[in-house]
Amino acid sequence: MNARNESARTAASGRQQEPMQRRRFDPKYLPLTVTVALFVAMAATGGVLYEGFLSPQVMLNLLIDNAFLCIVAVGMTFVILSGGIDLSVGAVIAFTTVLLAALVQRQGWHPLAAIALALSLGTVYGAAMGLLIQRFRLQPFVVTLAGMFLARGAATLISVDSISIDHPLMTAVAYLRIPVGGGYSLSLSALIALLAVAAGIVLAHATRFGRTVYAIGGSESSALLMGLPVAATRIAVYALSGFCSALAGVVVTFYMLSGYGLHALGLELDAIAVVVIGGTLLSGGRGYVAGTLVGVLVLGLIQTLIAFEGTLSSWWTRIAIGVLLLLFCLLQRVFERTRRLTLGVA
């Protein structure tokens, strides 16, 4: 029986050999490719429509002005990949700025000490929320929403007014511009953001932690049965997000040179949006940190387009952002679908 079966099998299995050959294009990366391509197309359109749009500094400004969003979004990517959500990021940023400003301006701390404290506080705060979520099986949405209230509340408690910072070290770093040739420059924050993205990519794709995050997002019960450290990883994910938020808070402090409880209002939604636009599934388990960077750039590009347009009233601005988002996401879906069909993957 076996011999017979064997011959039947080999006869039928010409196709089964095929997957072993490396394909030219891995459909896994399709969404990412489409997103990048659309970004390029959109930038090109802007270049045609508006004079000076494609100048390198405008493109660099995308990074400079969105550095903090980028950093927060890297942390958020991990949270979303693990199937959770973190609404506290904007508030943690605000809290960090106020804390830094208060410590440096009012208490006379050295900025580096203050930054170290802020980063560790952010991490601990995230971990605490993660612990609540993991230990008591609370829904991440509520926990981090309460975390958002708490962090903003704490920020206003420290100071209702905004606090300007004029510590020489802080201002020096804030004004620092790193030349990238041709008279164009990047800020330190932008550099930190790029580093964060690079670190995020490595963390997500080349470490056990990263792969466990994906596994949890794909199926928590399976991850448990596979013997993965689900509890520790989940807490670490929120701690990471807390750290990223605090880091973004530091960057915002440099960006604005002030601490203010109303900084980064509604940033959590932007962060979630860029992660999702970058191709990460909100339900967890799928997506790329690199996609998040593209998502950030797309959102920045939309705003830049509108700023260059310069004739829109307040309401048309909103409508235009909506329409551009819609266009982008629709095209993303359409291209993905048709490419998928021609590639023959289900």
Binding site: R4, A8, A12, Q16, D26, S219, S221, M226, L228
Partner: protein, 507 residues
Amino acid sequence: MNAGPSPPGSSHVLQARGIGKRFAGIAALEGVDLCLRAGEVHALMGQNGAGKSTLIKVLTGVLAADSGTLELQGQPIAPASPVQAQRLGISTVYQEVNLCPNLSVAENLFAGRFPRQRWSGLIDWRSVRRQSRELLEELNLRIDPDRLLGEYPVAVQQMVAIARALGVSARVLILDEPTSSLDEHEVEELFAVIRRLRERGMAILFVTHFLDQVYAVSDRITVLRNGRCVGEYAAADLPHAALIAAMVGREMAAAPAARPAAEADVPRQMVLQAQGLGRRGQLAPTDLELRGGEVLGLGGLLGSGRTELARLLFGLDRAETGTLRIGGQAVRLHGPADAVAHGLALCPEERKTEGIVAELSVRENIVLALQARRGWRRFLSRAAQNDIARRFVDALGIKTASIETPVALLSGGNQQKVVLARWLATEPKLLMLDEPTRGIDIAAKQEIMNEILRLARTGMAVLFVSAEMEELLRVSDRIAVMRDRRKAGELPGGCGEDAVFELIAGQ
């Protein structure tokens, strides 16, 4: 450790004594003993819901037992989680595929124990890839380790799960129904590996509902019935009939229900006619005819396109070519809702993802398709729902505390019966069953076969997909054979196994 089957009593590796486990009023296990020995394959047998999976979950720390003790090589252990069990050297494949569909095959094989580069501590993807190839090779599984696991059908996923368990160098290997989705060839590959491991002195626990498989590999058999231990036997000393009797608790006619002689006098109405039905990358254009009152068996190897054909007929995938006529009328199906409205039914292959709705009760799962067919306005009264649910719970012997129990809490085989019941309840014109007996015990299987034949006798057309050749030959009036995603030919029901294999092989 020495090679070869060891004499009884030697080197107890894992010993469970007096295990008890209750779930909200139901006793799933009561005073169960189990003893795994080095270099032995131990089969755990029992009907659906007998407590096999529960026992395994207790052994591996997924569930905490209410009573009883565990010993690993004489040392008492109490694994509190699967991680701990793994660290103790117990490697497990659970009944439902418990891997992550969103990770690649290689990652699923190595998650939790990725090889790392020495200098950076990062995952060494090259060696992950290399080692996965080796592991898959061992099971003769030719799949791309870089593709996402979810892209492969359950059968392949099950093989991957097995490969993962094999990859851990463990003392104890536990396999809960590893062969339910596999065809004979894959089973052979698996058994070859199991024998090799046995030789290396590993203790293996093996659950299956296929008696031949039990006798093919196991040295010893423990039978559970209703959560109690019926006994432990040496496989060689236990005849087939005695094993069945031990599981079922009564003598059972071993003779399978025979296909009724073709009732040629009954005029058979054409129910469904497919011409050139196909879809790029899934199925070459295929013709198929189904008449009322007949059972059409669909044979072929794994991945030969049987599932695809059924899905196209049901409108679950959109056909790109060809026409479909139902009851003589040309139709275009826009989705399952359409198909259901036309009186078709498809009991899908993948029970976990496409079958059960875990949170819903047994009752709700059973009436779901029927209700969908009636539409949202013609709501089945609660009494009618209860009636239908009870009827099928009795008819198929679904073991459940009540019809209001969430389906998630049922044993695997009983979940499968619920999905089957859902489709039987719609009383369709054409019933398509894709591997409907997966994970179902022998007694229930016979009942299901009888039910199918009974339905066919009432004039229903049945399309029956199964990896089990005997089963297929037993119920089918005709057998269509798929090969390489096209129909290779059709055979009359009475033909022998050989004829079918020849067609499968394309000779």
